[in-house]
């Protein structure tokens, strides 16, 4: 049933990279419980605009939980309180009348704030560029059915490939590690026969890139898994570690 609630929002405002930010308080009245979290922010922004203030900057695009563009820490939880849900798919029916909601950007050294809730996640692209691919050029590939892939392997690869690159895992991790993101990509490609030839090199290169960029290490806190909107399992980190050890032992590159 649709109803309306009133809330108090405490939102991180920061004018630009390197500038000082602060939490500002905004009332949010008559919010329909059918609204998404971002639609609620739209409503606030309309009001701010009309009253001559600057609207709150936040990233978003698909608004259906797939592009990975949105994300904020809501009451201390990346993407808010609902399990397996991106911020854009979080609906206001999960909040109660009178609630206070604190909204902050991802906090990680590797994701500097651009403005308000918007951060720079370019480091994720850099990690993928280091090896998150199978080296095939366009054309000249064999018939698609020439390489059978066990149903189970394809399913597991798909589980890992569902990562949307949102960065919540990094924001949730006390060490700001990107291991879940990495593990997901390395598992996705490594579980498929097409991805095996480069598996060792891929793991080494991507891990190296992650370290260089300044992400922290994994100490098995499991916060990433708990907050991941696509419920990527930390089994993927174990696979990544296996891949890495194999690579470190058997590879001729160091």
């Amino acid at each position: 049933m649709t109803k309306t609630i009133s809330l108090t929002l405490k939102i991180w405002r920061q004018n630009g990279p390197g500038e000082k930010g602060r939490l500002e308080t905004y009332p949010a009245d008559d919010i329909s419980t059918d609204m998404s979290f971002l639609e609620m922010l739209d409503v606030i922004n309309e009001k701010l605009t009309l009253s001559g203030q600057n609207p709150i900057a936040f990233d978003h695009d698909c608004r259906e939980g797939i592009c990975g563009m949105c994300g904020a820490v809501v009451n201390g939880r990346a993407h808010g309180p609902e399990k397996g849900t991106t911020l854009c798919q979080l609906h206001m029916r999960h909040f109660k009348d009178g609630d206070t909601i604190v909204i902050e950007p991802w906090r990680a050294r590797t994701f500097p704030v651009i403005k308000d809730l918007v951060v720079d996640r370019g480091a994720f692209d850099t990690i993928i560029q280091a090896g998150g691919f199978i080296s095939v050029n366009t054309g000249g590939t064999p018939d698609a059915n020439a390489i059978p892939v066990a149903h189970q392997a394809a399913e597991k690869a798909m589980d890992a490939a569902a990562c949307i690159g949102c960065g919540a895992c990094v924001a949730a991790c006390p060490n700001a590690s990107a291991m879940l993101f990495l593990g997901a990509k390395i598992s996705h490609l490594g579980l498929l026969p097409q991805g095996r030839p480069e598996a060792a090199r891929r793991a080494l290169n991507m891990l190296q890139a992650m370290d260089h960029l300044g992400f922290g290490n994994c100490t098995n806190e499991r916060e990433c898994e708990a907050e991941c909107p696509k419920e990527i399992s930390i089994v993927n980190i174990a696979r990544l570690n296996r891949e890495f050890f194999k690579a470190a032992f058997f590879s001729d590159q160091t």
Partner: protein, 637 residues
Amino acid sequence: MALDAKIPAGPLAEKWDRHRFELKMVNPANKRKYEVIVIGTGLAGGSAAASLAELGYNVKAFCIQDSPRRAHSIAAQGGINAAKNYPNDGDSIWRLFYDTVKGGDFRSREANVYRLAQVSNHIIDQCVAQGIPFAREYGGLLANRSFGGAQVSRTFYARGQTGQQLLLGAYSALSRQVAAGKVKLFVRRELLDVVIINGQARGIVVRDLISGALERYDAHAVVLCTGGYGNVFFLSTNAMTSNATAIYRAYKKGAFLANPCFTQIHPTCIPVHGTYQSKLTLMSESLRNDGRVWVPKKAGDKRAPGQIPESERDYFLEEKYPSFGNLVPRDVASRNAKEQCDQGKGVGETGLAVYLDFADAIKRDGKDVIENKYGNLFQMYEKITDENPYEAPMRIYPAVHYTMGGLWVDYNLMSTVDGLFVLGEANFSDHGANRLGASALMQGLADGYFVLPYTIGGYLAGAELPKISTDHPAFELSQQNVQSRISQLLSINGNRTVDDIQRHLGLIMWEYCGMSRNNEGLAKARVKVQQLREEFWKNARVPGSGTDFNQSLENAGRVADFLEFAELMIIDALARQESCGGHFNEAFQTEGHEARRDDKNFCHVAAWEYAGDGQDPRLHKEPLVFENVELSQRSYK
């Protein structure tokens, strides 16, 4: 100017091969001397940029989002077609070609569509080699399903996330070329003008969305892969930044815009539920394979669906179209849903919805099977509506989804401006007046992986391309124009938010230029759009400054363009005095309320040329010649 589609001579099946042979080629060692700008990193842009770089060209790739991986293609759910005929159910290149031409209601080019069907199989090979985790049978081979309007199973899919997986494939290929130094990536950039020198597209002006700075880039060719313009309706299934700006700016620089009124309304979306709503969510039409569409037989029946007995349900698609049933093409399904609701048989709070019911499928196959096929879609539905579709039928309603119109391109995918190529949803080619399900992904990747890499070589090898730099006066002028428009937007300082105006525009377009149109309404809409545009420039409020991260300003620029583009759509709709595919003019229908084409007078592409602000655009017609298929009244009975 006569439009020359440059369709190669010879029998249909040999045209592409022959053309590839006849195209001039750039010597492999010379490719690195060429710079190509690719705008957009969706399936079309991502695949094009990666493939061009692999060939040796130097590519600069631009996108609005913070990463190429977030282009709107990521949201495609259902699947991608190819004529592999793996299930041995009678598919062939010819059948895919024929279905696409027929599905498009005979308003596309035979030669283009045939080529699309031909290269479709290579796409699947390519994607598998890249590691796309397509669904598999237990024997390890690829699984297929049938999809929107096809009687064969030719759709490949990766759960309900096919677009995501295909895009991540293209993104990985692109990333590999970034690492190799062949692609320079420019994220959070918005194209605001195309720069033309000596009649050739030689560069762009973009805004750095973080710093607000305007930047100039030059190249030997410019490739637009900027997606569709569905957000002219405000509410659509498109991502929030999807825009018409890129193609509209190119139009103003001389590229013709073709068939802008051809828009697709998708039958299975989650219905609108409030005025604050920011976008609509698609429920993949793969659901129509197992879901049955129905409404109560009696108008105004407000009982819960479970309390309406079989005998009082109207499975209107199955009844009316016994051979295609729930799988009729999108335009047909959408119009029929609207018709039922117009008769007062719509369901849900607003009465603007029909049921999509899985009870029979769950009974037949078991909940596990259904969950395996559609789990994430069901979950998404529940998240949004708070209702469990395993227990109660979904409520769905049509929503704007795809735009068949776009910049006019010839067989080489080049627009009417030399050196300006257009790929993917941004061009008009291949889908005619209606697109079949799972064929946009196919087209985007066909254009990017397998067409442009050849045809751009033909252009570059044959064109005289004098040396220029971004200091050229054309760049200067272009940047000045962009700058003055931004200043103008920021100085209006009115009382209405841009969102509010865009919402208003959307309502006008949905009402008068949506699922069904008539001349009177279109004429009215044209005036309303003009008035709204006037109001925008007088009364919009665009806060903030132009020299930092300012999402309000970004959107204001897009809405300003939509306000002009919308009028062009209406003009096009008025000019096409027939019904075909997604363009349904009420004056032209059969007795069974199907679109009635007028092949004698309208078997053409309508390509519009910009004639100056305040001037009516000039219409150019490209006649469509059908040598291989017979034009027939589409029938899905």
